[in-house]
């Protein structure tokens, strides 16, 4: 443990040096005034682990020095032990208000002094562990963020969302269906118009969380339809509704937007994330639609939603007309 002891009496330095060495602490620097201590603190590359400060010194006293260490020198948690004579104990309140952690009295009780130093050492070690853990944690978080970072146009697997598949799995699902099975199936694409800004603004984890929340919001708005969903990149989501769907899609988008808004999402700086959905396109499979046709439509919808997402926000239904999908066979079953 690296210690700085400050006392205007050099004879005290001698006593402290011996007591500290006897307790196993040899790395001790001495200053005879607050100004000298400030210079030492400013000059060292590795900070001191603990401080011993005499309260009553000519010039700035130990309390002023303690306050300076806490507020200006960045010594937030290092132990600061005040040295005071028995008759000056009234100064201790001010010392603790200035950030002192302990005190010893002069004349020194050698055993007590050694005990206090060892306590300070334990505190210093605990502080160092906390500091090191925090550094490691920050590095791990940064590494994790790097690992989780995805390109704006890349699709993101939403493993934690029920009903969410990878795009390829959604295609395979469509390919497995026969013509008759696909009849009545609806394909709908949604997009988040502000995704480019959000991708740039959010950390990787927050971006993934946003996509997962967005997917859940869409699926919640489509509740009861048996919808399957995939993220197609760039804030575009494609859904497959095997039982068809008969509803106003603008209302579905508005409902999904409301669900997402109700989550109260905020970014790393505490600012709210506003991400209203827009319907990018929809298709209703007829009796003659094959699985390959459906995959082609899915690709087209995905591409359109991605391109539109990367453009400035603009409503799809510019004339305000409602887009309604009447089903050939309501709730057709495969």
């Amino acid at each position: 443990m690296k210690i700085l002891a400050v006392d205007d009496d050099v004879l005290i330095h001698g006593v402290l040096r011996t007591v500290l060495a006897g307790a196993g602490y040899d790395d001790v620097s001495f200053a005879a005034s607050a100004n000298e201590a400030r210079m030492l603190v400013g000059a060292v590359s590795a900070p001191y682990d603990a401080y011993l400060l005499d309260i009553q010194m000519p010039g700035d006293d130990g309390i002023a020095l303690c306050r300076w260490l806490r507020k200006e020198a960045g010594c937030r948690a290092e132990p600061i032990i005040m040295i005071t004579s028995m008759s000056a104990k009234t100064f201790l309140d001010g010392a603790f208000q200035a950030g002192a952690t302990d005190y010893v009295t002069k004349p020194f009780d050698v055993t007590e002094l050694a005990t206090r130093i060892r306590q300070a050492d334990r505190q210093s070690q605990a502080n160092r562990r906390i500091r090191d853990d925090a550094i490691r944690l920050r590095a791990l978080k940064a590494a994790l963020e790097d690992m989780r970072r995805v390109d704006l146009t890349a699709s993101v697997a939403l493993d934690d969302v029920d009903g969410a598949l990878e795009p390829l799995a959604l295609e395979n699902y469509l390919l497995r269906l026969g013509r008759g099975d696909l009849a009545g199936t609806s394909l709908i694409a949604f997009r988040l118009p502000g995704i480019t800004r959000l991708h740039a603004r959010l950390a990787a984890t927050a971006y993934r969380d946003l996509l997962a929340d967005a997917a859940e919001s869409i699926l919640a708005a489509l509740q009861g339809s048996g919808a399957l969903l995939a993220h197609a990149g760039a804030g575009a989501f494609v859904t497959v509704l095997p039982r068809g769907f008969e509803a106003d899609l603008d209302e579905v988008a508005a409902l999904a937007s409301q669900v997402l808004d109700d989550l109260g999402l905020i970014d790393d700086t505490g600012l709210p994330i506003a991400a209203p959905f827009v319907v990018a396109g929809a298709h209703h499979c007829g009796m003659m639609t094959s699985g390959r046709d459906a995959v082609g439509v899915l690709h087209a919808l995905s591409a359109r939603a991605r391109v539109d997402s990367l453009e400035p926000a603009e409503p799809v239904h510019q004339d305000g007309a409602r887009q309604r999908f009447g089903l050939v066979r309501p709730f057709a079953r495969r």
């Binding site: 004879l11 005290i12 006593v15 040096r17 004579s85 002069k106």
Partner: protein, 119 residues
Amino acid sequence: MSAVLKTTIDRLKPRFIVNLTEWQASFRALRPELSGDADLPPLLHELRFATHRMAGLAGTLGFRALGRLAQQAEAQLVPLTDATAPARPLPPAVLASLDALMREMDRVVADASPARTGR
């Protein structure tokens, strides 16, 4: 007390005695002025500073009685130095405390003199 600490303290004692001798001379010069019409605040601050240092060191180096008397004198001087204008004459207890300390300083210096220690 460890042997190393005892050695350190024994080594520091002569230096303390040198300091004590200087304080002794200073106290002897200042003491008559405390009862006269000298400007009191600077005198009291000087005495307080000396008693403070003496109180901190004397006990640690084994001069327990001196340390205790220095503490008592410092405690008497603190309210006087904190006051903007100390009352005249100084309270008898303050003077008595300083006189007792000076007697102990004389005794310690005499005990440590070469004639007594054989050095």
